[in-house]
């Protein structure tokens, strides 16, 4: 009895939802890193590593949001537009002379409004998530355009240097702040997802919405919370965009919602809901980021980059399916024995 407990403890970690995929994909990530390192020695330079991490951070952020939504069994197509909208709102307010931190506050409020709208349309009005967020995607992009009268903003000015350092250019303990921000947000939302009732309910709703309802889970509030998380993450990325450019760009974030899906799914989050962990999202985002960075360094033309990335998305999910099928076979055999 006692001897059995130790491997079972290890087994438990691995049999945790989505852990299998995380392991598979982490191996894939290491392979990629080694390949790119061999192709280009500069790849391992200190500078490129910290640079790369900073490039991955926004993908992790939108990946977190999309993962939350995917786990509830829905999807958020509005992420990219909320990034753009947040970028434009924050920058416009700053160019109009508002205190940057106040502008940040307004930006989060606006993004949360879109998240709330998504959540309500889907959980209360029962719109399919794809349609509801396709609609808000267009609306949020429209807001991004209208907010400064269909122009990118001017520079947010010297007064906003603190803001820009906070979100992008500054370093803390030798790492760029963007990385810390992503890490902090990841820790908070990973904790919520894995260790709180809300998190448990998010999995339950995605796994079987009906059963969750009958068990007293508040479906509408759970789904809405997931969309709010997604909006917060997207808004943060929008602020990072403003910090990067020092101005508002109307088409910032275009197609980020798809990167977010890719990061989540490569990391083992199921588009069918109920399955996945945020650790996987980090790995998924890293694969995406490393591919973009590495392929650019390797001098691959955009065309090749696209083809490689497409193939890798397909293969990584295929791999997961194969691994999962084998695992469930092995498990059935075990039950049988």
């Amino acid at each position: 009895m006692e001897n059995k407990k130790i491997p079972s403890k290890l087994m438990k970690v691995f049999s945790k939802r989505g852990m299998g995929q995380v392991v598979t994909v982490t191996i894939g990530l290491l392979v990629l890193i080694i390949v790119f390192g061999l192709l280009n020695p500069n790849f391992f330079s200190n500078r490129n590593i910290s640079n790369l991490l900073r490039q991955i951070a926004p993908i992790i952020l939108i990946g977190i949001g999309q993962s939350y939504v995917l786990i509830t069994g829905n999807i958020d197509l509005s992420i990219g537009s909320v990034v753009g909208m947040s970028c434009m709102i924050s920058a416009t307010l700053m160019t109009k002379g508002m205190n940057p931190w106040l502008a940040v506050g307004f930006t989060y409020i606006a993004a949360l409004a879109i998240g709330l709208l998504n959540g309500q349309l889907i959980s209360k009005a029962k719109l399919p998530a794809f349609i509801a967020t396709l609609g808000t995607m267009t609306i949020a992009r429209g807001i991004a355009q209208i907010v400064n009268n269909n122009y990118n903003t001017d520079s947010i000015g010297i007064g906003a240097e603190g803001f820009r350092n906070f979100f992008y250019y500054g370093k803390t303990f030798g790492l760029y702040n963007t990385i810390w921000i992503a890490l902090a947000i990841w820790l908070v939302f990973n904790f919520i997802l894995s260790r709180t009732r809300t998190g448990r309910h998010i999995y339950a709703v995605g796994s079987n919405i009906h059963a969750a309802h009958l068990s007293g889970v508040n479906i509408a509030s759970t789904i809405t919370k997931a969309y709010l998380v997604s909006a917060v993450c997207a808004a943060t990325v929008g602020l990072v965009m403003t910090a990067i450019s020092g101005m508002g760009t109307m088409d910032a974030g275009t197609t980020y919602e798809l990167y977010a899906v890719a990061a989540s799914v490569i990391g083992g989050v199921s588009t069918l809901g109920g399955q996945g962990i945020l650790l996987g999202t980090i790995v998924g985002a890293s694969i995406w980021g490393v591919l973009q960075n590495g392929l650019q360094f390797a001098g691959a033309p955009v065309a090749i980059r696209n083809i490689v990335i497409g193939i890798i998305v397909i293969i990584s999910v295929l791999l997961d399916l194969v691994v999962r099928a084998n695992k469930s076979k092995a498990k059935k055999a075990k039950i049988k024995a």
Partner: protein, 505 residues
């Protein structure tokens, strides 16, 4: 006596166009098991869903422990000590057993989930019920019957004083049913009130104190179980006498239609060999998980098989996909009609036409709508399916009528062998008899009928020959004359292989 713990008075409930409950009153005492009986669609589940707050009543009063409750909802019901095991499984497949048991009322410390505590607690609950499942198992990996046991454990874990069980046994094995009955007796002794809904009337004798009968949403009668008989209960349920619960026709057995030789498909289908003759119904008996469904699916080409031969009229046929089976004259009425049988969003006409498009459409694949109409009408008339018109969604039909559509779509073509997998699960007495008559009709037409069922009386009542399966193998073939419940059970529990494997391991 005033120890009523539940009093529902003059309850009404309308669904769009359906009077599901029409002035129904209902009382439950502590320490009693009340059987709530009635045909499909009588309103049993609806009444219990109102009691447990899933639906809201249109009119009427609800009193729990003498206190009037106006705004019942699932959370409040739980707080009041009402627990319900729903007719359908309601489990989150991706969560563990413990997570499911505590869903919606998770134990937290300062807002953080205490998984260890919940696992320990769940382990105790499962042990107390004699259920051998690790609380950290993912529910989706459990068999259906185990999931049902978890569902029961979940309901009991709330320490509810009022327990509602809506067809809890329809997916359980006989050992589990015995365990459940023991639990029910214990809870009764502890003063719980239990509402028990089932279409398996023979179960009632072991546990029930009182019965209450609904028909078409109306209260019919209630009485002590002691003072009544099954015959009387059935008469109240269907509103008329059912003369024969298991109509049997005699027919001379003629030539062999189907022969299966050494069929192997995965762990659940090992070395299956049997024959089926013109003019007989062959029943396949066994416990849940014996591999009967897998056998029918492999035979029909729905799952891939490793080896084995299938012969029709002595000629070997190649079956790799359902369409091959259909073309060879073998058709399957699957066990789960919602999941495998019906396209619920499509019309009844579409559903009946679907497997027959090869007949209905011309060589170019163009559908002949006149022919389609003819075939649909014929099928609806033959089976006496009650419907508004054939254009309505299959979803709108009652369970029994849905089952008839699933059967009916196969009967318009000239099949040689019809396989029924649990055709009467969750269906009321009267509809069951209609299904039996249908099988008899096929038998008399010379069509081979293969019939999987978990209900002993039905297997014994309808089959001409019985195959008993255990652990993926046929352990015995019995002529109906030598078959009894005991003999079947003896062979259904022959787990030699399993024991051997355990020794090896």
């Amino acid at each position: 006596m005033d120890n009523y713990i539940v009093e529902l008075e003059n309850v009404y409930k309308n669904f769009p166009g359906v009077k599901a409950l029409d002035n129904v009153s209902f009382k439950l005492k502590s320490g009693e098991v009340l059987a709530l009986l009635g045909e499909n669609g009588a309103g049993k589940s609806t009444l219990m869903k109102i009691l447990s707050g899933v639906y809201t009543k249109d009119q009427g009063t609800i009193k729990i422990f003498g206190e009037t409750i106006d705004d019942m909802n699932p959370v409040k019901a739980q707080e009041l000590g009402i627990a319900i095991i729903h007719q359908e499984l309601n489990m989150c497949d991706h969560l563990t057993v413990a997570q499911n048991i505590f869903l919606g009322r998770e134990v937290t410390k300062k807002g953080v989930l205490s998984d260890k505590e919940m696992n320990d607690e769940a382990g105790k609950i499962l042990d107390g019920l004699n259920i051998d499942i690790n609380p950290e198992t993912i529910v989706g990996d459990l068999s259906v019957s185990k999931q049902q046991m978890v569902e029961i454990a979940k309901a009991l874990s709330t320490k509810a004083k009022i327990l509602i069980m809506d067809e809890p046994t329809s997916a359980l094995t006989s050992k589990e049913i015995d365990d459940l009955f023991a639990i029910i007796k214990r809870l009764k002794k502890e003063g719980h009130g239990i509402v028990y809904i089932s279409h398996r009337l023979e179960e009632l004798q072991y546990i029930v104190d009182r019965v209450m009968i609904l028909r078409d949403g109306q209260y019919i009668t209630s009485m002590d179980y002691q003072d009544t008989s099954l015959r009387e209960i059935i008469a109240y349920m269907v509103g008329r006498e059912i003369t024969e619960k298991f109509p049997r026709i005699d027919k001379k057995v003629e030539e062999k239609i189907l022969e299966v030789k050494n069929l192997n498909a995965g762990k659940m289908v090992r070395d299956i060999s049997f024959s089926l003759y013109k003019g007989e119904i062959v029943g396949i008996a066994g416990l849940m998980g014996a591999g009967r469904t897998e056998t029918t699916r492999a035979l029909f080409g729905a799952d891939s098989k490793e080896s084995g031969a299938i012969m029709i009229d002595g000629v070997e046929v190649e079956i790799n996909k359902p369409i091959d089976a259909i073309n060879s004259g073998i058709v399957l009425v699957p066990e789960d009609r919602k999941k495998d049988g019906l396209c619920t969003k499509l019309s009844i006409r579409d559903n009946i036409a679907l497997p027959n498009l090869d007949i209905i459409a011309n060589t170019l694949g163009i559908v002949n709508r006149k022919k389609e109409e003819e075939i649909t009408t014929k099928s609806v008339d033959n089976l006496n399916i009650r419907l508004a018109n054939a254009e309505t969604d299959a979803d709108s039909l009652s369970g029994g009528n849905q089952q008839k559509v699933v059967v009916g779509k196969w009967l318009v073509r000239n099949s040689r062998v019809v396989i029924f997998d649990e055709p009467t699960r969750g269906i009321d007495v009267a509809s069951k008899v209609e299904i039996y008559n249908l099988m008899n009709e096929l038998k008399s037409q010379g069509i081979g009928v293969l019939f999987v069922s978990s209900e002993m009386p039905e297997i014994l009542g309808i089959s001409d020959r019985i195959l008993v399966m255990a652990d993926g193998r046929i352990t015995k073939e019995l002529d109906i004359k030598e078959a009894t419940q005991d003999v079947i059970l003896e062979y259904a529990t022959k787990f030699d292989k399993k024991i051997n494997e355990q020794i090896e391991a």
